[in-house]
Structure formats: structure tokens, C-alpha cells
């Protein structure tokens, strides 16, 4: 019995969690849309390169600046490259940038914040000061500065984006840990002989994850926008790699001359991705918000 019951229970738990999720989604069609949208974007990132009808890097002099057609759904760009293929393939790069930046920021920021919130004292002071300092910078300009100083490569965009996101996680983790550090279950765990670090890592930190996940989801969108913004001022991804921001930035110069598709489709893809992250974050917030869990 003691052998079988945990797995049965786990199964039950999963069913129950799914049940909750299904209820929450049914109650909130917008979140359902967000989940579907998110899966779609994720699908593009994973399968995009396989699905792309053309080589996204292949130029074609004869086909430059062609409007959308059956042959080229999203038209072609100034070098005759297929915009649809490029938009599809760009999903992977954009999501990679966003995910890595946010994961780095999350790991560093939440660790800093959790330590500060739990131990207080000088660690709190130090973390708070570091966060204050970063936050007092105009964040986008800071990111610009970092990429300009370190050179524009994907990895530097990731670092810059991660850095400006760290304070958000640090502050949030600090607050979330802080409200829990005197909770009964923490004292109980202390009585059970857990060391302070273990208290933080095993007992408190996992409980802060749900609200942090909301932040992660919202930040993913922001990270993409940030990378796109850097591309727009010329500090982004290197050509010829397809990336939504740089495609919009390049396409922007073609709007006035009537080649709207070059900016519109990557812009729409960018928007769609950010939109799905934001909606998802919003929906997660509703799920996580204890006030709404009646």
C-alpha cells in the first residue's frame, strides 16, 4: 500500500491540477486563447525551420520586394527573401533570447532576492542597493549601453536584457520570501531541524514560485520587445539572421514606399508572441491569486 499509494496519489494530484486548470480556462476564455496562442508560438519556434517553405537566407534578385501572393504569403523583402519563412524561423531566435534572458534574470534575481528577504541585514542592504542602482538607470538606455560596450551579439543582448530584469525578480522574491519568513510553516520546519538555508530553499522558495511565474511570463514579452528595440536602433542581432525586431526596423523604412508587408508581418508576429506571453501571465496571475481561488 505504501508502495503504490504515492504514485496513485500523484496521478490524482495531476488530475486534480488539470481539473483546476480546465476550470480556470473554461471560466476565462481569454486565458484559453492565450494558452493556445502560446502553444502556437512555441510550435513555430520548435518546428518553424522545418515548416518554412523557403530558405530564409536565400536572396533572389528577381523576386525582390514582391507583395504577398500565393507563392510568398507574406511577400518578399528587398533582397527577394521570403518574409513568411523569415518570420517563421525568427520565432526560434526571439524565443531563445527571451527565454534565456528571463531564465538568467530569474535565477540570479530570485536567488539574490530570496537571500535578502530571508536573512535580512547586510545581505538585504546590499541587494536592495544593487537593485536601486539598476532601477535608477533608464533601463532601456542601460541595455543599449551594455550592448554598445560589449558588442552586439545575441549573447550580449541576452546579458543586457537579463541584467535589467534582475531587480524585478530580486524585489519580488524578496517581498515574497519576506512575507513568508515568519509564517507558521517556516517555524515548524525550523523546529523540524531544517537549517536556515534549507528552510529557504526547500520550504519558502517553492512557495514563491507561482507569483514569480506570472512575472516570468510577463517578462518574456518584455524581453522580446527589448531585443527588438535594440535591433531597431541597430544594436541587435546580426544580419542575415531573421529576428522580428530587426525585420520591423528594416521594414519600417519601406512602409512609406508602400512595401508594408516587410514590417507588418514580423511586427504582427512579434505582437502575437508578446501578446500571448502577456495574456498568459495575466491569466496565470488570476490562477495564482488566492483571492480569486474561492
Amino acid at each position: 500500500m505504501s508502495q503504490s499509494s504515492p504514485s496513485v496519489q500523484t496521478g490524482l494530484r495531476i488530475t486534480r491540477a488539470l481539473g483546476h486548470a480546465r476550470y480556470a480556462l473554461a471560466a476565462n476564455p481569454v486565458t484559453l486563447c492565450a494558452v493556445l496562442l502560446f502553444m502556437f508560438v512555441l510550435g513555430c519556434a520548435i518546428f518553424g525551420p522545418m515548416l518554412a517553405p523557403y530558405d530564409p537566407l536565400q536572396t533572389n534578385g528577381a523576386m525582390a520586394l514582391k507583395a504577398p501572393s500565393w507563392q510568398h504569403w507574406f511577400g518578399t523583402d528587398q533582397l527577394g527573401r521570403d518574409v513568411f519563412s523569415r518570420v517563421l524561423v525568427a520565432a526560434r531566435l526571439d524565443l531563445t533570447i527571451a527565454f534565456s534572458a528571463v531564465i538568467i534574470a530569474f535565477i540570479i534575481g530570485s536567488t539574490m532576492g530570496a537571500v535578502a528577504g530571508f536573512f535580512g541585514g547586510w545581505s538585504d542592504l546590499a541587494v536592495s542597493r544593487v537593485c536601486d542602482t539598476i532601477m535608477a538607470f533608464p533601463l532601456f538606455v542601460l541595455a543599449m549601453g551594455i550592448v554598445a560596450a560589449a558588442g552586439n551579439s545575441v549573447i550580449n543582448i541576452v546579458y543586457a536584457t537579463a541584467l535589467i530584469n534582475i531587480p524585478f525578480y530580486a524585489r519580488m522574491a524578496r517581498a515574497e520570501v519576506n512575507v513568508r519568513r515568519n509564517a507558521g510553516f517556516v517555524h515548524a520546519a525550523r523546529l523540524a531541524g531544517n537549517s536556515e538555508w534549507r528552510l529557504l530553499a526547500v520550504h519558502i522558495f517553492p512557495n514563491t514560485l507561482p507569483p514569480m511565474m506570472v512575472q516570468v511570463s510577463l517578462n518574456l514579452g518584455w524581453a522580446i520587445l527589448n531585443a527588438a528595440g535594440l535591433s531597431f536602433i541597430g544594436l541587435g542581432v546580426r544580419p542575415p539572421d531573421a529576428e522580428w525586431g530587426i525585420m520591423v526596423a528594416e521594414g519600417a523604412n519601406f512602409i512609406v514606399s508602400g512595401e508594408w508587408w516587410m514590417a507588418l508581418f514580423p511586427g504582427a508576429a512579434l505582437m502575437l508572441a508578446v501578446f500571448s506571453f502577456n495574456l498568459l501571465g495575466d491569466g496565470l496571475r488570476d490562477l495564482v491569486d488566492p483571492q480569486k481561488r474561492t
Binding site: A27, N28, P29, V30, R129, V130, D132, T133, M135, A136, F137, P138, L139, F140, V141, L142, M144, G145, I146, A148, A149, A150, G151, G221, L225, A228, G229, F232, I233, G245, V248, A249, A252, I255, V256, W260, A263, G267, L270, M271, L272, V274, F275, N278, L279, D282, Q291
Partner: protein, 342 residues
């Protein structure tokens, strides 16, 4: 006594900001020196040789060791001297003072626009959570925050200026045909009104509309979300139940009781949004040729103009600190509990 506690609170906030400011001075200095590109080479001009570059490097003081450069930078800073932009040759402080009003006017106007739309939206959504109003509001603000500002800006320009011709050309703060009004506040709209020059006022306002819309669209979300959340919380709180049980009118319950309580976190959000906007201006200013400090920073960054970048960042940081202080003051005035509880 109460005032004493509160003013002490504010002073301590100010004191807390000092380390951050010091941090910023150091970080910007290091960051700017890490920028690639040799300003000396840039300023020596297109046809300079190694000797003339060295000459200019010496002129700019860039040949001295970094700690010495830092020391002289800090010394100047303490005397209120932000240095001289090596690209425009103007004192950085002067350039910032000239451009700051432009950015502030745009940002404030955008914030006003955003708040005027987002707060009623948030309240409406909070009064009927999960209704179609709520969902529509959520979709709208999320869509807004999902659009890259430069893309929105370009799109608005294309539609409203190039195709429809409703908006004036995106040429900064005033259409070509107008002159800036006599400077009092530095805000063209206000200065024009002070000067009773309504034509210029309209022109300045017309220039503001598109960039402000671009920024506002992007910032609807945080304000509306926060309004909604804190309004839901306020409406669900027990004192609202008391108010209902006391038979107070719906108006009074929603606006005097719930709304005022809900506004407190919204004020904080407004402050955060404002400082975020000042930073995010960079891209919008570029699209609309807005002569603000954002575009100034980009230009300076591109030419490795140390003094200008440092000055800009420092100005923003000070602004940020002042803004937080302002929020604290507002908060303190609005919430009797601040500083009184343990």
C-alpha cells in the same frame, strides 16, 4: 509630531537614494569607458592622421589613467559641472536643460492620456470582474503593451500623417511653420497658453498627440491592471461591506470609499510607469524626431560621448529619485497610515 514623522520618512528616503546615485556615477563611468570606439579618432575628423588623433586625445584628457579621469569627473560633478559634450561642444547640463522639458512634456502628456483611459477602464473592469467589459479591457491593454513602441509609432505616422493627412508631420515639438513660444516652463503647450498664442498651442498639441498616443498605448496595461486589481481588492474589503450595510450610495461606495483606497497603489504604479516611459522614450523620440533627452542619449552613445552619456544617466537617476520622493509625498499625504505603523 505627525508631520515630523512623515518629513523624517521622506528625508530618509532621500538618504536611501544617495548610495544608488553614487553607484550610478561609478557604473556609468565604467560603462562609458568600456564603450568601443575612440572619441579622439571620431573627433579628429575624416582625414586625420595618428598624430592629430593623439593631439585631440590629449585635449580631451583621455590620455590620463582612468582613476585620474574618474577623480576629475567626480570633482567637476561635485561642483555641479556635468562636463561638456564633446560632440556638440555644449555644456551637458545646458543641453539637458534644453531637452528635458521636451521629454517631460511628452511623457507627462502621455501619462495623463494613459491614466485618463486606463483608470476608468480598470475601474469598469473591477466592478464586473470576468464580464465581457473586463475581458475586453484586458485584451485591449494587453494588445497595447504587446506592440513595440517604434512599430506603433511608425504605423500611426503612416496612417494618420502619410495616408490620411490628419496629423502634422512627425517633426518634433512644433510644425515647421511655428516658432517656439517664449520659454517659461519649457513646455510648449503651457508656454503658448501663457503667451495667449492659441495657434501655437494648437500646433504644439497636435505634435504631441501621436507620440503621446504611442507611449500611452504601451502604458495602459500596467495602470489599468493595477487599478483593476486594487479596485477589486478594495471593493472586496470589509469596510466596503460595512459601507454597503450602512446603505451608502453606490457612487459614494465606489468612488469615495473604494476608489480612494485603490488609488494608493495606483499612484506608485503611475510613478513607475513615468520613469519607465522616460527611458522608453528613446525609441519614440527617434521615430517622431522629438528633441528630447532620449534621442540625445542615443546620439551620445553612438559617438561615445562620455560626458553626455554620463550626464544623461545621472539626470535620469536624479529625476528618478525626485519622482520617488514625489510619490512618497503624495502617498504620505493620501494615506494617514504611512509612517505611523510599526
Amino acid at each position: 509630531m505627525a508631520l515630523g514623522v512623515k518629513s523624517r520618512l521622506i528625508l530618509s528616503r532621500l538618504a536611501q537614494a544617495l548610495p544608488a546615485l553614487a553607484g550610478i556615477v561609478v557604473v556609468t563611468f565604467i560603462l562609458t569607458r568600456a564603450l568601443p570606439g575612440d572619441p579622439a579618432a571620431y573627433f579628429a575628423g575624416p582625414a586625420a592622421d595618428a598624430r592629430s588623433i593623439a593631439q585631440i586625445r590629449e585635449q580631451l584628457g583621455l590620455d590620463r589613467p582612468l582613476p585620474v579621469q574618474f577623480l576629475s569627473y567626480v570633482t567637476d560633478l561635485l561642483q555641479g559641472d556635468l562636463g561638456r559634450s564633446i560632440s556638440t561642444g555644449q555644456p551637458v547640463a545646458e543641453a539637458l536643460m534644453q531637452r528635458l522639458p521636451a521629454s517631460l512634456e511628452l511623457t507627462l502628456f502621455a501619462l495623463l492620456l494613459s491614466a485618463l483611459i486606463a483608470i476608468p477602464l480598470g475601474v469598469a473592469a473591477a466592478r464586473r470582474p470576468d464580464s465581457w467589459v473586463d475581458q475586453a479591457c484586458r485584451l485591449l491593454v494587453t494588445a497595447g503593451v504587446s506592440l513595440p513602441t517604434f512599430f506603433t509609432g511608425l504605423l500611426l505616422v503612416y496612417v494618420f500623417y502619410f495616408i490620411l493627412g490628419w496629423a502634422p508631420p512627425p517633426l518634433g515639438r512644433l510644425d515647421l511653420i511655428y516658432l517656439s513660444p517664449p520659454q517659461v516652463t519649457g513646455f510648449f503647450t503651457i508656454d503658448a497658453l501663457l503667451d495667449r498664442d492659441f495657434a501655437t498651442f494648437r500646433a504644439a498639441l497636435a505634435q504631441l498627440v501621436l507620440p503621446a498616443m504611442t507611449l500611452a498605448l504601451f502604458t495602459l496595461a500596467p495602470i489599468a491592471r493595477m487599478t483593476r486589481a486594487s479596485m477589486i481588492q478594495a471593493l472586496g474589503s470589509e469596510f466596503i461591506r460595512t459601507a454597503r450595510a450602512s446603505g451608502l450610495s453606490e457612487r459614494r461606495i465606489v468612488y469615495t470609499y473604494a476608489f480612494r483606497n485603490a488609488m494608493l497603489p495606483v499612484v506608485t504604479t503611475l510613478g513607475m510607469v513615468f520613469s519607465f516611459m522616460l527611458g522608453a522614450n528613446v525609441l519614440v523620440e527617434k521615430v517622431f524626431a522629438w528633441p528630447g533627452i532620449g534621442s540625445f542619449a542615443v546620439e551620445a552613445l553612438v559617438v561615445s560621448d562620455y560626458a553626455a552619456v554620463q550626464g544623461f544617466v545621472l539626470a535620469m537617476a536624479v529625476l528618478f529619485v525626485l519622482l520617488n520622493l514625489l510619490i512618497d509625498v503624495v502617498y504620505t499625504l493620501a494615506d494617514p497610515r504611512v509612517g505611523m505603523e510599526g
